[in-house]
């Protein structure tokens, strides 16, 4: 209960405090940095590794994607298409190489299975509710929900290929 109250205060302060951050920062507990990449978060105290840094190469997530075969070579044409899709539908929340509203996709394939990534893109509502890692990520990222941008499976696959180039 106490931690909830603290979280609430932190959330409030972090919003109110943004404008005058440098000169006049009020700190209660730990303050999540809104945009900078490596920073502690208010909710990470339970485990040592943040969900965004957790490596899980077996969990395939929940959703339509059961199996993805990655070719040894990156398909550059597919990756280029993926970059277009990413630019128009994902970039508002995900910068390629730094934490923004959501985590950066750089090196994501070292931490997640291809299936998990595509299911997170295609089925974010169910993933955030039922997949423990996706659920933990929602908390890490201030409760900002991953938006369902209604990509087709083909587009999601292209985005995945683009992630391989980052």
């Amino acid at each position: 209960m106490k931690s909830l109250a603290t979280l609430a205060i932190v959330t409030l302060i972090s919003c109110g405090g943004k404008e005058e951050k440098k000169s006049n920062e009020i700190q209660i507990g730990q303050k999540p940095a809104a945009t900078e990449a490596p920073a502690e978060t208010a909710t990470s105290s339970a485990s040592d590794t943040k969900p965004s840094e957790t490596v899980d190469l077996t969990n395939k997530g929940i959703g339509p994607i059961k199996n993805v075969e990655l070719s040894p070579e990156i398909d550059q044409a597919m990756a280029a298409k993926g970059m277009e899709v990413y630019k128009n539908k994902c970039m508002a929340c995900h910068k390629p190489d730094k934490k923004f509203i959501g985590p950066a996709p750089k090196n994501i394939l070292k931490r997640r299975t291809p299936e998990w990534i595509m299911n997170m893109i295609l089925n974010p509502e169910e993933m955030t509710q039922k997949d423990p890692l996706a659920h933990a990520l929602l908390k890490e990222f201030n409760g900002s929900p991953m938006a369902n941008q209604n990509l087709t499976e083909e587009e999601a696959r292209q985005v995945l290929e683009y992630f391989r180039t980052l």
Partner: protein
């Protein structure tokens, strides 16, 4: 003598109201819905859907409301002819052109008669048309977006009331003038009306692919009041029927002076014949200024085009195209049964309902059974076109609908009731009171070859004590009757917006499957769209500042803007980057002299802000969009005019 009759009618009307108030007050003999299973019949369980859509006119609100039947639940108010701050209709830069007319920007109208598009005489659920009565206009509402897609102004018309009814393949939407006027408009003494004013009946073609409307021709009729109309269907397809009153051509105190003639007319117009005449080069082009406004779902923007001429047709130039059917006492409703054989004229001051026969009409025309002419237009002999009369069914008949099972339902304003009678035998088989003073009635598909005769909606003119009082102005209301059995059964009262003049109903499954869930960002062709978040920016052109902004849960990009100055005209062009169902975002700016924007996924909208004072001014999302909705906010720094503050913008930078 006339005065005595008027007083008599008034007394009967009062008596009718009083008897409603004191007697059978709550319906079902005062036992309410509990005496029957009425409650069960209108109950739509949480999460379940209604069986029918009902598009009910918003009357003097100028809008079109969408209800579910049988529940009577309101789903949406579609802004049509009036500004709507909730949806920025007529406030944002994109939709302002929709309300342009030859008189300039007209932000209000009086919407009356919705009609759903048809194919082969059956409802197809593509579009709803509705008329603006005051500044004559016809709108087309797209039933994939449930938004107004087009508005066309009708020149040479006034009191656009015998509108907007469509032919059975949606070839035409028809608009008749209630008030005859000088054509072209000119400065002349009012009392020279008779013989000099004209009544224009406009036939507006509809493109079957796009729905795009265009005035094909205007039929220049004698200066009567063209009150209501309906198309022929099936066997009478190709004809259109208009009731008239004030065939006396009075220009003052019409309640007396337009009630002199024993009979007025139903005008029967063979539009196929006129269409052929026009297609062969007939008619006269005359100068006429009118606006044609079209909204595009690709650019999310409307354009208004001012038209300069219209094709007019003198009925005398097309022999055999127009006839008058004498119809007693200022007929109001003009309704055609599903077979197309019977044309019902409801004489407001008549004791009986008059039903004409289409077959007899053709025969009378062929055998020239004429009873004189009016301004050169042949008048058919009343007895030779009459199919029958419904004797003494009630007082103040207005409108008739059909259930497709051989029954007709006529509304009576003065005696405040719905009367069911048999088409063909003309016998009254049932009557139920309405609370109070019903105007139009509606059966889903009741204006087509194939009605869905399960429910009847009465749209009432007086509400009085039916709901909790809300000061002198009480809610407008409608009532739902079950008409599936031999006896009509009143099931439900429900409030409506504006004055519910008329409605059009359709089975939900025809429409719901086509309803759009969002606009694809990739298809967005708005000239000021920001399709990629990386393109969010601010540009200055003189004193105009254009903000290319994106929005997605739960931030704006940019959300910090500096370098705006007092005296600037700031355009917020905001694109919603969500691509998921039901995630609109809103935006509003402190002190902006306009409404919020409410932007659907994939859509771009624009509002203008002219900052008056230096300072740092916040804007925020107005539609609760996510858990972090309250965080969806931003600031614009406004510097004094002439200051050197550099133009810059950012999101998430320190």
């Amino acid at each position: 003598m006339r005065k005595t009759i008027n007083i008599l009618v008034f007394l009967i009307m009062v008596a009718g109201l009083v008897s409603c108030n004191s007697g059978d007050k709550k319906g079902n003999n005062g036992k309410g819905g509990l005496s029957t299973n009425a409650a069960e019949k209108v109950y739509v369980a949480p999460g379940e859907h209604d069986e029918f859509y009902a598009f009910i006119s918003g009357g003097f609100s100028g809008q079109l409301s969408v209800y579910g039947l049988p529940s009577g639940r309101l789903f949406k108010v579609i802004p049509v002819f009036s500004q709507d701050a909730e949806k920025a209709w007529g406030y944002n830069e994109e939709t302002k052109p929709m309300l342009e007319t030859s008189f300039g920007f007209v932000p209000w109208d009086d919407s009356h008669h919705p009609d759903i598009s048809q194919t082969n005489g059956e409802l197809d659920g593509r579009w709803v048309f509705i008329n603006g009565n005051n500044t004559p206009r016809i709108a087309r509402v797209d039933l994939t977006t449930f938004e107004t897609a087009e508005i066309i102004e009708i020149p040479n018309s006034a009191g656009n009331h015998s509108s907007s009814f469509i032919t059975e393949n949606t070839e035409y939407v028809v608009a008749g003038t209630r008030f005859s006027v000088p054509i072209p408009q000119r400065d002349m003494p009012i009392k020279e009306y008779k013989g000099n004013f004209k009544g224009a009946l406009s036939f507006i073609s509809v493109d079957q692919e796009t729905g795009r409307m265009g005035i094909k021709f205007q039929l220049m009729m004698p200066g009567f009041d063209y009150d209501l109309s309906h198309p022929g269907r099936d066997k009478s397809h190709g004809w259109f029927f208009f009731t008239t009153y004030n065939t006396e051509e009075a220009n003052t105190l019409l309640e007396v002076n337009a009630s002199q003639n024993d009979k007025d007319f139903i005008a029967a117009v063979n539009w196929k014949k006129i269409e052929e005449y026009v297609n062969n080069g007939g008619g006269t082009k005359v100068p006429a200024k009118y606006a044609h406004n079209v909204y595009s779902d690709e650019t999310h923007t409307a354009t208004s085009t001012m038209m300069n001429e219209v094709l007019t047709v003198n009925p005398l130039d097309v022999p055999g195209a127009v006839y008058f059917l004498p119809t007693p006492k200022s007929p109001h409703g003009c309704d055609v049964d599903p077979t197309g054989e019977y044309i019902v004229g409801n004489g407001k001051l008549s004791a009986d309902l008059t039903v004409h026969s289409f077959t007899k009409m053709l025969d009378a025309i062929e055998n020239k059974k004429f009873d004189g002419e009016a301004y050169g237009i042949p008048i058919l002999k009343f007895e030779d076109v009459l199919a029958g009369t419904v004797k003494q069914p009630g007082l103040g008949p207005l409108h008739t609908e059909f259930d497709g099972k051989g029954n007709a339902y006529t509304t009576f304003f003065i005696s405040s009731e719905v009367v069911k009678w048999k088409v063909g035998t003309w016998e009254v088989v049932d009557r139920q009171p309405a609370y109070y003073s019903v105007g139009h009635g509606m059966i889903p598909g009741g204006n087509s070859r194939k009605p869905f005769g399960k429910y009847f909606v009465s749209m009432n003119k007086i509400t009085k004590d039916r709901y909790l009082p809300t000061g002198p102005e009480v809610t407008q209301s409608a009532q739902l009757y079950d008409i599936s059995g031999d006896k009509m059964e009143l099931l439900l009262d429900f409030p409506t917006i504006g004055e519910p003049h008329y409605a059009a109903g359709i089975p939900a499954d025809i429409v719901a499957k086509n309803s759009k869930q969002l606009f694809k960002l990739a298809d967005n062709k708005h000239p000021y769209a920001t399709l990629s978040d990386g393109d969010a920016r601010v540009e200055r052109k003189g004193n105009e500042v254009h903000i290319y902004m994106t929005m997605i849960r739960s931030h704006f990009n940019p959300d910090n803007i500096e370098g705006v100055k007092v005296g600037d005209k700031v355009y917020f062009h905001v694109t919603n980057h969500e691509q998921d169902y039901d995630v609109p975002h809103g935006i509003s700016m402190i002190g902006a002299n306009t409404s919020e924007l409410l932007i659907m996924p994939g859509q771009t909208e624009t509002f203008v802000w002219e900052p008056k004072q230096p300072g740092v001014w916040p804007f925020y999302c107005t539609d609760f969009c996510s858990a972090l909705h309250q965080e969806m906010q931003g600031y614009v720094r406004v510097s004094p005019a002439g200051s050197g503050t550099e133009l810059k913008w950012s999101l998430g930078e320190d």
